[in-house]
């Protein structure tokens, strides 16, 4: 609608408005539901009067004005009731409120100061309106809103049948949480820790449910308050943590290294050096590539697109300098030994490289030779 710089600026504005509109759409206020219902009701009233369509902005404005009218009636009626030393409103309070609001437009008998409220002009207008207007029920069934959640309160001392620990605490107050939920162990000897853990496991086993729920609630509250999940997991609380871990895996304490057996990725043989030396370093050379070529054909049920080894050999040989990089590993070998060593040939699943169709006897032989030289034959590690 502007004589701007041209279509680019209009387009840009359109996109920006679009984004803003999308952002606005996402931001739903707390009153969105009520406003929507008000819009529908006002639209129905307008339709009943003869309007066939409306501008969205006009409908929004009229609905907003209608809502404000309701609030204004309520406010004035409430203030009149309070003025008369009452907390609950009366029909006369409402009529007085209506008179106040109608005084702008005017109603019959407005100038009469001492008229009775029940005979007020607004009431007569209302009666007339109800008599004339056709009844248009609201289009939808509205639930009672806002919905109030049922809060489960903690039981008090009296309700739980317990006596408060001290005299100064009355029995109608809610119970203290279970000591396991908040007790943390300070630095102690290992023996003490062990005995403590044993004692605690016994305790926990006895009060299985009682411990679990408050602990979970406590941890959930911690999470809700923004603190990290599973933050208090100390050595002495192993039993408690275990209980928590059983119920909620996300709250379980992190696993120590070596606790759980995890299949590690298998490096393709071409990244391996001299087989005897692969514990500590990986050196890649031309010759290795050549010798290992034939063994790059595993016996796998899963196959991908085949690739001819000759081409790869050509690709690899043409003008490529020999690569030498050493990876220093202080840790265990990358090929993890999980079961007793087998002399038989195991399948090798490649992390990189192509899988090939078909089995060649030559390949088998090459691999046999290769792996017989190793101390630790590879395990089957299907990833």
């Amino acid at each position: 609608m502007s004589d701007g710089d041209g279509r680019d600026s209009l387009k840009f504005l359109g996109e920006r408005e679009n984004q803003q509109w999308k952002r606005k759409k996402k931001k739903l206020g707390a009153d969105e539901f009520a406003q929507a219902i008000a819009r529908i009701a006002v639209a129905q009233v307008c339709e009943g009067l003869g309007f066939q369509s409306f501008h969205q902005s006009a409908l929004d404005s009229l609905a907003d004005v209608g809502v404000r009218y309701i609030r204004e009636i309520g406010k004035t009626a409430c203030s009149y009731a309070n003025l008369a030393n009452r907390s609950q409103c009366n029909v006369f309070d409402v009529i007085q409120g209506l008179e106040d609001l109608g005084s702008i437009q005017g109603f019959s008998g407005a100038s009469d100061v001492s008229h009775s409220l029940s005979g007020s002009g607004v009431v007569k207008d209302l009666i007339r309106y109800v008599g004339q207007a056709e009844e248009i029920p609201f289009a939808y069934l509205t639930p009672v809103f806002p919905v109030v959640k049922q809060r489960t309160l903690d039981p008090s001392f009296a309700q739980a049948g317990e006596s408060p620990p001290d005299e100064h605490i009355p029995s109608w107050l809610p119970k203290f949480p279970e000591p396991e939920t908040y007790a943390t162990l300070s630095l102690r000897n290992e023996k003490d820790l062990e005995t403590e853990v044993v004692n605690k496991t016994q305790l926990v086993e006895e009060q299985h449910r009682k411990v679990e729920r408050p602990l979970l609630n406590f941890q959930q509250k911690l999470i809700c308050n923004g603190s990290e999940a599973g933050v208090v997991v100390e050595q002495g609380d192993a039993a408690k943590a275990q209980r928590a871990a059983e119920s909620n895996p996300f709250l379980a304490p992190p696993l120590q290294y070596g606790e759980k057996e995890v299949a590690l990725p298998v490096l393709p043989p071409k990244l391996l050096d001299d087989p005897a030396d692969y514990h500590n370093s990986c050196v890649v050379t031309d010759t290795n590539l050549l010798t290992l070529e034939p063994s790059l054909r595993p016996r796998e049920t899963e196959r991908s697109a085949p690739c001819e080894p000759e081409d790869r050999r050509n690709i690899l040989l043409n003008g490529r300098p020999s690569l030498q990089f050493k990876f220093g590993n202080g840790k265990k070998s990358l090929r993890m030994v999980t079961s007793p060593r087998n002399e038989s040939i195991e399948k090798v699943s490649l992390w990189f490289g192509d899988d090939h169709d078909g089995k060649d006897k030559t390949n088998r032989k090459a691999e046999k030779i290769l792996w017989e030289n190793t101390e630790y034959p590879p395990e089957v590690s299907h990833l």
Binding site: L10, C89, V91, S118, V122
Partner: protein, 141 residues
């Protein structure tokens, strides 16, 4: 004596008014206002209006409905007046503009009578410098 009769009459009148009001409130339970009760109760409770009697909420709902109906009627009259004014110029528009549309302009005129000032943006500009180009051109020239 005359004062007594007039007093008597006013008393009767008051009784009639009270009776009419009571009857009206009772009839409200039969009449379902377009504005749902839950909505009215929600806003009234928000504002501090306390009353367990559902007839009062119905009363408020009916009053609001009447208010909106009055405003909409005025807007409708404005719209029809504008259409009839246009029709006098061209006969073609008579067939096209039969649709009655609630526009912001009509609404703001209708609401002004009720003391509600609703002003709508007439147009939107891309940037603050829009429209100033012509000014700068003339100043250069």
């Amino acid at each position: 004596m005359n004062g007594q009769t007039s007093h008597q009459q006013s008393k009767d009148g008051r009784h009639d008014d009270d009776a009419a009001l009571t009857e009206f409130l009772a009839s409200l339970m039969d009449y379902t206002p377009t504005i749902p009760d839950e909505l009215v109760e929600h806003y009234l409770s928000k504002i501090g209006f306390q009353c367990p009697d559902i007839r009062l909420t119905r009363l408020v709902a009916v009053a609001t409905q009447k208010f909106i109906a009055d405003v909409a009627t005025d807007a409708l009259q404005q719209c029809k007046a504008r259409q009839s004014a246009v029709v006098k110029d061209k006969r073609d528009k008579q067939q096209k503009d039969k649709r009655l549309i609630l526009t912001m302009e009509d609404l703001s005129r209708a609401l002004r009578e009720y003391g509600v000032n609703v002003k709508h943006q007439e147009y939107f500009a891309d940037s603050p410098s829009v429209g100033l180009d012509s000014v700068s051109e003339t100043s250069d020239n």
